[in-house]
């Protein structure tokens, strides 16, 4: 409006990280096994893991396009890279400071769907990860984006993804509120996240001419691991 460029994507990333920090701080208050210093350390490890993981996976997937040039600031982000990076750093934290992994995951996990939902809003506002060509209800058109084909009606897959992950976050918070947040909730949420990403990836323009994308393969892996965790928990509960 005033010829000012607003970095929507950057603002969405920062809001996502802030929401993660606030939620982890709130969740950790319920835990008696973390003192304030450990909570700060966990937050640092997790958020650095998110950023580093997101950028490293992006670099690996686009190695040839970047000619092996690793310039941290200009690299993009990948969602699964962020999750894997966070998991690696959280595991390192638990190993280093002898914390129970289950309890740490209970603190860290609930904020991840909300983070993803907010960051997808950033994608929606700038036009990346855009959907297939579509002329039905809710179609969107970008006119100034450098990432999408301009003046073409597209499916708002980023917005749908943001809403669905927000619903998953509400499901987790509901379980926490009712004190029913346990391994079953963790497993169910991971399965829901995996299925959502797997199905929505078919509605992206980048999914043309391929059977399964890299994200869909990782989603399948997440679903399998979650099912194994749930089965193991059920078995141990029965015995």
């Amino acid at each position: 409006m005033f010829n000012i460029n607003i970095p929507f994507y950057a603002i969405a990333i920062i809001l996502a990280l802030l929401s993660n920090i606030i939620l982890v701080l709130l969740n950790s208050q319920k835990s008696k096994n973390f003192n304030n210093r450990e909570i700060i350390g966990l937050l640092l490890y997790e958020n650095v893991g998110i950023i580093v993981g997101a950028k490293i996976l992006y670099f690996i997937l686009n190695y040839e396009k970047l000619n092996g040039n690793f310039e941290f600031i200009s690299l993009g982000f990948t969602a699964y890279g962020a999750v894997i990076g966070a998991l690696v750093f959280v595991l390192l934290f638990c190993f280093q400071f002898k914390k129970e992994l289950k309890e740490t995951i209970y603190i860290v996990l609930p904020s991840l769907p909300l983070m993803y939902s907010i960051s997808k809003l950033g994608c929606f506002l700038v036009g990346c990860c855009y959907g297939i060509e579509y002329n039905g209800f809710g179609k969107i058109m970008y006119q100034y984006s450098n990432e999408t084909p301009n003046n073409v009606y597209l499916f708002p897959v980023q917005l749908i993804e943001s809403i669905l992950f927000l619903i998953i976050f509400i499901y987790i918070k509901d379980k926490q509120y009712k004190n029913k947040f346990n391994i079953t909730t963790v497993g169910n949420s991971l399965i829901l996240c995996g299925i959502t990403k797997f199905l929505l990836d078919f509605l992206r323009m980048s999914h043309k001419n391929i059977i399964l994308s890299f994200n869909q393969c990782i989603s399948i892996l997440f679903i399998i691991i979650s099912i194994m965790i749930l089965l193991k928990y059920k078995k141990s509960k029965q015995s």
């Binding site: 096994n33 003192n35 350390g41 640092l44 580093v52 994608c123 450098n146 990432e147 980048s206």
Partner: protein
């Protein structure tokens, strides 16, 4: 009886150290004052090692451009370890605070300013589907 982590005097009936919240199980309690003093000297030596590794990591971030991520991770791990394991060391507290402020400022300023100044607006330049 003393808490092994922070050296605070504790009572047998307590379940957690009131200062650092360490669970007061047998392995986390020091019964002898001499052992406690010995441990504090060892902690002082270990915290100096943490500080040295941290400073080497910071040096690497600025002077070893190709390995800046690795150096940053090393600095992060060393300063957080020092911050959690040696809560009585003031120098580590100050270094940690400076590190935390720099990380936050770097995150906000670099992400926003960079995207604004070089006109990376309205795009998530370089973002692959995910």
């Amino acid at each position: 009886m003393y808490c092994k982590r922070c050296g605070n005097k504790v009572e047998e009936i307590w379940k957690y150290c009131p200062k650092c919240k360490l669970p007061l199980i047998k392995k986390n309690i020091e019964f002898s004052k001499e052992n406690m003093i010995k441990k504090q000297k060892q902690d002082k030596r270990d915290s100096i090692i943490c500080i040295v590794i941290f400073l080497l990591g910071i040096f690497g971030i600025f002077f070893l451009n190709n390995y800046s991520i690795i150096c940053f991770s090393i600095s992060l791990i060393s300063i957080v370890t020092g911050f959690i394991k040696y809560p009585n060391n003031i120098f580590i507290k100050i270094l940690f605070l400076i590190f935390l402020i720099c990380v936050i400022l770097f995150g906000i300023i670099i992400i926003i300013l960079f995207f604004t100044i070089v006109n990376f607006i309205l795009t998530c330049n370089g973002f692959s589907a995910g």
